[in-house]
Symmetry: C2
Subunit: 195 residues, 2 copies
C-alpha cells in the first residue's frame, strides 16, 4: 500500500500562482522512468532567459542522466543521506556559478543570479509535471575534478529532476519527509523596514 | 507620441511558460500610480514560499514606497544612473541575504537562496501586471546605515516594482534600453557536460 502523501500546497496568506504554491521538494523519485527530454529542454531554456546583472548569465550546468558514467560521478559527490534518494531521480543537474570571467574579473552577483536561474528552471519543470529537489549537501571539489572545472566556476547545488514515485520505496527515515506540511515564517518577520 | 516598445518576448528555442518568456526588466516606470498593495503582498508572499537550503529562508526585505523618507534613503544609495529612472517606480525593495545566523554560524547558500526568492517575487509580480527591474548598482553600506543592519545581513540587490509608464518621460540614453531585443547565449554554451 502506498504511503499517503499530504496535500503539500502552501497555506498562503495572499494569493500566489498555483505553480509557486504547489511546488515542493520531494525525495520519492520514480527510479525507472527516463527523463522526458522535451520537458528537460524546456526547463533549461527557462533558466537561459533568467535576468542577471549586466546580462552576465553567470550560470553553467552539468546534466547527468541516470545510468551514465557522469551520473554515477555526480552521485558519488553527494553526501550519503542525499545519495540514498537522489540517485533514483532520472536526472541530476549540477548548478555552477561563474564567479569570475575568463580574464579573472569578479562577477559579484554570480551565485545570486544562479539562484534565480535555478528558480526559473524549477518552476518550468514543475509546470510540466516534473519534480525538482535542490541539494547543497555535496562535495564541490569532487564535481570540479569530475569535469575539470576551472577555479572560477563554483558548483553550488545539485538538482534532482524527475517523476514522482512511491514513498514506499524509500528508507523509513527518508519517507517521513514526504508527508510533512510546508512551513515558512510569517512575512512580517522577513520585512525589516516598511514604509 | 509614445516611443514604440518592441515585442520583448524571448525568442525561445523550446517552449517555456509565458510568464517566463514575457518577463523583462523595464526602466520606464509610471511615476504617478501608487503600488497596488494586494499585488505587492502577493509578490512578497511568493518570495516567502521559495525553497532554501535546510529551509533556512535566508532572505529579508526593505519595502520602500515612493514619497516616503525610507524611499528617499534607498534612492540615495543607488548609483546615479539608476537614480535617474528607478526613483520613478512605485516601490523599491531591497533584497538582503542573511549570510550568518544570530549565533554567527555561516548560512552558505544565503545569497543563492535570496536570488531564488527574488525570482519568485518577480514572477508573481509580473503575473499580476507589475514590472520588476533588479539592480546591483547601489551602495550596500548606505542601505546598512539607513536601517541599522547587522553585519551578518548583506544588502544584495535593489528591486524597482511598479507599473509601466511612457519611455518618453525618460532621458534619451535610458529610453534606448527599452526597445532592445532580449539576448542570451545558446543553451549549448551553458551546459558544460551532458550525458
Amino acid at each position: 500500500m502506498s504511503t499517503p502523501v499530504l496535500d503539500r500546497t502552501a497555506q498562503t496568506e495572499h494569493p500566489v500562482l498555483d505553480i509557486l504554491a504547489d511546488r515542493w521538494s520531494p525525495r520519492a523519485y520514480d527510479a525507472e522512468t527516463a527523463i522526458d527530454e522535451a520537458k528537460l529542454a524546456s526547463a533549461l531554456e527557462a533558466a537561459r532567459w533568467t535576468p542577471s546583472a549586466y546580462n552576465s548569465q553567470p550560470w553553467r550546468f552539468i546534466v547527468a542522466r541516470r545510468g551514465t558514467e557522469l551520473h554515477r560521478g555526480v552521485v558519488s559527490a553527494l553526501v550519503e543521506f542525499n545519495q540514498a534518494w537522489a540517485a533514483r531521480a532520472a536526472v541530476l543537474v549540477v548548478a555552477i556559478a561563474e564567479t569570475a570571467d575568463a580574464e579573472g574579473a569578479a562577477i559579484t552577483h554570480a551565485v545570486y543570479d544562479l539562484g534565480q536561474a535555478v528558480a526559473h528552471l524549477s518552476i518550468q519543470a514543475h509546470s510540466n509535471g516534473l519534480h525538482v529537489h535542490q541539494m547543497s549537501g555535496f562535495d564541490p571539489e569532487k564535481v570540479r575534478e569530475l569535469v575539470g572545472l576551472e577555479q572560477r566556476f563554483l558548483p553550488t547545488t545539485v538538482i534532482a529532476v524527475g517523476d514522482l514515485g512511491s514513498a514506499d520505496a524509500l528508507p523509513e527515515g527518508i519517507q517521513r519527509g514526504e508527508t510533512a506540511p510546508r512551513m515558512r515564517r510569517p512575512i512580517g518577520e522577513t520585512i525589516i523596514a516598511n514604509a
